[in-house]
């Protein structure tokens, strides 16, 4: 919104420099974007919030200036001589839909001559960004910029029956608007009609057929109040936005209608010949009731934390155009039609605070007074985040969007589509964090990063019968070398067991008794045989492994890529392991190594399960796993170290020998393992 300094000065005295004025207005809520010199004048560009249509014009802005500096405000002159003929004898107005059109004021001008406006009018509207057209159109725009009331001039002789009816559109009706476009109308559109047909879209744009032309002699000037939502719906449906619709949809002033019509009448003589017929045609079905607001001094203090004093409060309210009447402990303030945004006590308190100055309200700190509650799972989350960072994973954040095809491949739950997506690649909410991670890995591999470790803490989105759920995920991504390259050690590629070690390290702080790893039911986007799941009881804590090379190849990734999905809700609900001390043994452990020939069907974990419960056995470690050469097909060779220990006494050789024998026979009898030594 552009405002000219010279125009403001028509209504209020201003001695301040433009810069100081801009600062003062900004600090009262009228944000000035730019101040520039133009044609010997100063032009302010304002960014006015949508609740303040009253300030989107020069007089309204002058009222703000007058309030800030508490100076008198002069109203624009609206004096003129009327002809003897009654306007109502030349035209008639009828409102069929008073809910959407609360008031319709018409003035009739006769014998006008259409031509250019005087320079001073052209200059002002042009500086404010509106192109001069002819004296009548320019006058309506001038009044709009000056007082904020949109008006429209019809060629009265082109209005069938010289009659105006305000109603909603009928089926099949259409209208060519001033911009030359044929608009098909719908039943929700409010239209201005003559005796036969629609001639204007109410509050949005006039029609071409009744437009002012060089031949126009008689004019009907419309100054009306249209309901914001009605104007907004039509304007949005037709994607037709005008200065008028901008104001109506934010709320105009119905009492400003007569005033605006009179202001234009008073200026008509300065733009050329023409008579103003007697009286306004004022169609005002049922006047509007505005509330009386009770304002208590105590409420002001309670909200702002400071007592401003009665005279300051009254002076501000008067300056803003309110009429406060003193009453018990405060005032009764009737709401006014020029400030429809002010209807409650708190609205008045805001006005008072704003004009008094936010900066003058003393800054205080509330007493702490309350103990903060524990955030659920905060300790678990902190522990997990620290561990992830400790393992060297760089934290990334990815977009929550995904595409339909990705969601089918990685999903596993019904997709959640967006009605107005940003792009086709982002048309659903992600049901998996894996594609997001693959994109980040791809980004880095394409930039030749030899060592990539990424971790994302984020959500995935699922639709369930009960509504939407947003499980929390930790997704790890790894590719390249197992360690950052260093001169002192040979480089080797990242592999499954590095990833498993990381997953196990992350799960370790949590109470995960019964944690198992297996490769049953690993999602199909992992390379089968190179991926696993971590389970605890019935819950899946994680899937992890190498991504199917078929998939990564589509992204032009030509090296193995590893991903882990850790289901944080499932992990966190187990809680952190409670630390507890166990007495340390006083004597060393005794170890024996066993060379085993194990059928491929027997996983390492089964060996643990089978002999693990032996008395005094404290550990079973795999030292070597070996296939091929002398190892028969269908078997693998395992070098296993078993260690035994008692807390307070040494084990004898005989005891250890008998343990070893028990272990051998157990493995052989129960798992078919050949013990070679």
């Amino acid at each position: 919104m552009r405002i000219l300094l010279s125009w403001l000065r028509d209504f209020v005295e201003i001695q301040e420099s433009p810069r100081d004025l801009a600062d003062a207005l900004t600090m009262a809520g009228m944000a000035v974007d730019t101040v520039e010199e133009a044609d010997g004048d100063t032009l302010f560009e304002f960014d006015i919030t949508s609740n303040r249509p009253d300030a989107m014009n020069h007089f309204g802005m002058a009222r703000e200036v007058a309030s800030i500096y508490r100076r008198p405000l002069r109203r624009p002159s609206s004096e003129f001589a009327e002809a003897d003929i009654l306007a109502s004898s030349m035209a008639s107005v009828e409102i069929a839909n008073p809910k959407s059109c609360a008031r319709y004021v018409g003035r009739v001008f006769t014998g006008v001559r259409v031509g250019p406006s005087p320079d001073w009018i052209r200059r002002r509207i042009e500086l404010c960004g509106i192109r001069p057209i002819n004296n009548l159109a320019d006058l309506t725009n001038y009044a709009l910029l000056e007082m904020g009331q949109p008006t429209h001039a019809f060629d009265l002789d082109k209005l069938a029956g010289r009659h105006i009816e305000v109603r909603t559109a009928r089926p099949g009706e259409s209208l060519v608007t001033l911009d030359g476009v044929l608009r098909e109308l719908v039943a929700e559109d409010l239209v201005i009609c003559d005796a036969e047909k629609p001639v204007a879209l109410a509050g949005v744009m006039g029609g071409e057929a009744t437009e002012i032309t060089a031949e126009t002699r008689n004019v009907l000037l419309e100054a009306a109040w249209f309901k914001p939502s009605t104007v907004r719906n039509t304007s949005r449906r037709l994607k037709l936005f005008s200065e008028a619709s901008h104001r109506f949809e934010r709320g105009a002033d119905w009492d400003g209608t007569v005033w605006a019509a009179d202001r234009i009448a008073s200026l008509l003589g300065q733009t050329g010949p023409g008579a103003v017929l007697k009286g306004c045609i004022d169609c005002y079905p049922g006047s509007r009731n505005l509330p009386e607001i009770r304002l208590q001094s105590e409420s002001i203090r309670r909200h702002l934390g400071v007592d401003l004093g009665g005279s300051e409060v009254e002076s501000i309210l008067l300056a803003l155009g309110f009429r406060p009447v003193a009453s018990d402990n405060g005032w009764i303030v009737p709401a006014t039609s020029h400030r429809l945004d002010v209807e409650r006590e708190i609205d008045l308190i805001e006005e008072i605070a704003r004009i008094h100055g936010f900066e003058k309200i003393p800054a205080t700190l509330p007493a702490v007074g309350i103990a903060p509650a524990r955030t659920p799972k905060a300790a678990e989350d902190t522990r997990m985040r620290n561990a992830v960072s400790g393992l060297g994973y760089d934290e990334t954040i990815g977009f929550s969007f995904s595409s339909s095809s990705e969601s089918q491949r990685f999903g596993g739950s019904p997709e959640i589509a967006l009605r107005n997506p940003i792009s086709k690649l982002w048309d659903v909410m992600r049901t998996s964090a894996v594609p997001t991670m693959l994109r980040a890995l791809e980004w880095n591999l394409k930039r030749n990063q030899p060592f990539v470790r990424l971790a994302e803490f984020g959500r995935v989105y699922q639709r369930t019968d009960a509504g939407f759920v947003e499980p929390k995920m930790l997704c790890l991504g790894a590719s390249g070398t197992a360690r950052p390259l260093c001169w002192s050690e040979p480089s080797r590629p990242f592999g499954f067991f590095e990833l498993k070690a990381d997953v196990a390290a992350l799960l370790h702080p949590f109470d995960s008794a019964g944690l198992r790893f297996d490769s049953r039911n690993v999602p199909p986007y992992y390379r089968q045989g190179h991926a696993a799941s971590a389970r605890c009881d019935a819950g899946v804590l994680a899937h992890f492994g190498e991504i199917d090379p078929e998939i990564t190849r589509e992204q032009k990734i030509r090296q193995p890529v590893w991903v882990a999905e850790i289901f944080l809700d499932e992990v966190y609900q187990r809680g952190l392991r409670a630390p507890a001390h166990r007495r340390l043994a006083r004597v060393p452990a005794v170890s024996r190594d066993f060379s085993l020939l194990v059928p491929e069907s027997v996983a390492f974990e089964r060996i643990i399960d089978t002999v693990g419960p032996m008395a005094d056995l404290i550990s079973l470690e795999p030292l070597e796993v070996f296939r091929g050469q002398n190892v028969p097909r269908g078997h693998y060779s395992l070098l296993l170290r078993a260690s035994w220990q008692r807390l307070d006494e040494s084990l004898t050789d005989e005891e250890v020998n008998s343990f070893a024998a028990e272990l051998r026979s157990g493995l052989h009898a129960r798992l078919g393992i050949v013990v070679r030594t």
Partner: protein, 360 residues
């Protein structure tokens, strides 16, 4: 006895002479390392490889025959492990040497301590998370509880309960992303719905910080992202005032942006607060003198705030005659950008390790 002789003798003989299997292999290793130290050229290295690992007459191949294969049954696992371990290490060392890696200097001068060791730096914490942690560290001691909420929200929580008139331009200004389907669900455009959810569930006094992802239908560019992070703090009680809001936020911006930072409260409009204010801080880049980043104004707009609108309290089931409160919200991404000098918001979401590792 030469090393070649030694590896040719049966292990039982050697053990009888008093060495353990471990000693025997340690001896081989020491010998190999000594020889490796003396290699200077790739040809030397290749010759060394043949001498030790050659398939017919390599020293280690010989040890495999006369030590491992000939070992007594109970000794085999141990010897096998030593043999394999040494073989692996030799292979790695030779490969390393072939690649021209420089081995450690072994003369009197000792190690070169200026060479780097293998990198073990902890992974980066994302700048948005860094900023969040800093903010939470400021608010927690003031009695604020940290909370999150759902990102998929209803029209009611995102707009209606927050006093957005349903046919008002303010709804359009939020550029909402809606979900398909009959639920009229949407991606929250701000974290303010959490205010309602918390006020419905708890009774005052309340002090909360809520944070999380929010979404807008914005075309991505250097300053806009369709997804970003917001943080919102609010307090509700019998006597929370606008002065308290000013004091709290002044404390906050001084802590976050530096002790000389000044906050300026400018009246503004948000449907869910009244009075509403936007807070500008003195530009941290030029200390308020004017620069490119603050467009010569000396100020940077950083957050929106206000007293919670009585309608919002009522919508959340609180009596606005008894309770009042304040709320303030801002973009964590923007805070992180200002704080760490990041000029493109989209970099935050690419996962580029070169970008992220700056925050290690």
């Amino acid at each position: 006895m030469s090393i070649a002789e030694k590896t040719g003798r049966p292990i039982a003989d050697l053990l009888r002479e008093g060495d353990s299997a471990e000693d025997l292999y340690a001896g081989l290793r020491a010998q190999f390392e000594a020889e490796l130290r003396d290699t200077r050229t790739p040809e030397h290295t290749r010759a060394l490889r043949d001498r030790w690992l050659g398939r017919r007459s390599g020293l280690l191949t010989a040890a495999n025959e006369s030590w491992l294969k000939a070992a007594a049954r109970e000794l085999k696992p141990t010897v096998g492990k030593l043999q394999n371990q040494l073989k692996r290490d030799l292979e790695a060392a030779l490969q390393n040497a072939m690649q021209g890696a420089v081995s450690e200097p072994r003369d009197e001068a000792g190690l070169d301590p200026t060479l780097p060791g293998p990198e073990r730096t902890a992974g980066a914490v994302h700048p948005v998370r860094l900023a969040l942690e800093e903010v939470l560290d400021i608010f927690r001691p003031l009695g604020y509880t940290v909370a999150e909420g759902p990102e998929i929200e209803s029209f009611f929580y995102n707009f209606e309960a927050l006093n957005f008139p349903s046919d008002h331009p303010a709804v359009d200004e939020m550029d909402t992303l809606f979900l398909a389907g009959k639920e009229r669900a949407l991606l929250r455009t701000h974290t303010s719905p959490c205010q309602i959810r918390i006020m419905e569930a708890e009774s005052p006094p309340l002090r909360y910080v809520v944070h999380g992802k929010v979404y807008r239908n914005d075309t991505p560019d250097a300053t806009h992202s369709p997804m970003f992070h917001q943080l919102e703090m609010f307090a509700v009680g019998a006597d929370i005032t606008f002065g308290d809001l000013r004091g709290t936020l002044e404390h906050f911006v001084r802590r976050f942006f530096g002790p000389s930072t000044r906050a300026r409260f400018r009246p503004s409009y948000f449907p869910f607060t009244e009075p509403s204010a936007e807070v500008d801080i003195t530009c941290p880049f030029c200390s308020g003198h004017g620069c490119r980043i603050c467009k010569q104004t000396g100020y940077i707009e950083v957050l929106g705030c206000g007293m919670i609108d009585p309608n919002v309290l009522t919508n959340a089931g609180l009596d606005h005659e008894r309770f009042q409160g304040f709320a303030a919200g801002f973009g964590l991404d923007r805070f992180a950008m200002l704080r760490y000098g990041i000029d493109d918001i989209l970099q935050m979401y690419q996962g580029d390790t070169r970008f992220l590792r700056q925050f290690r």
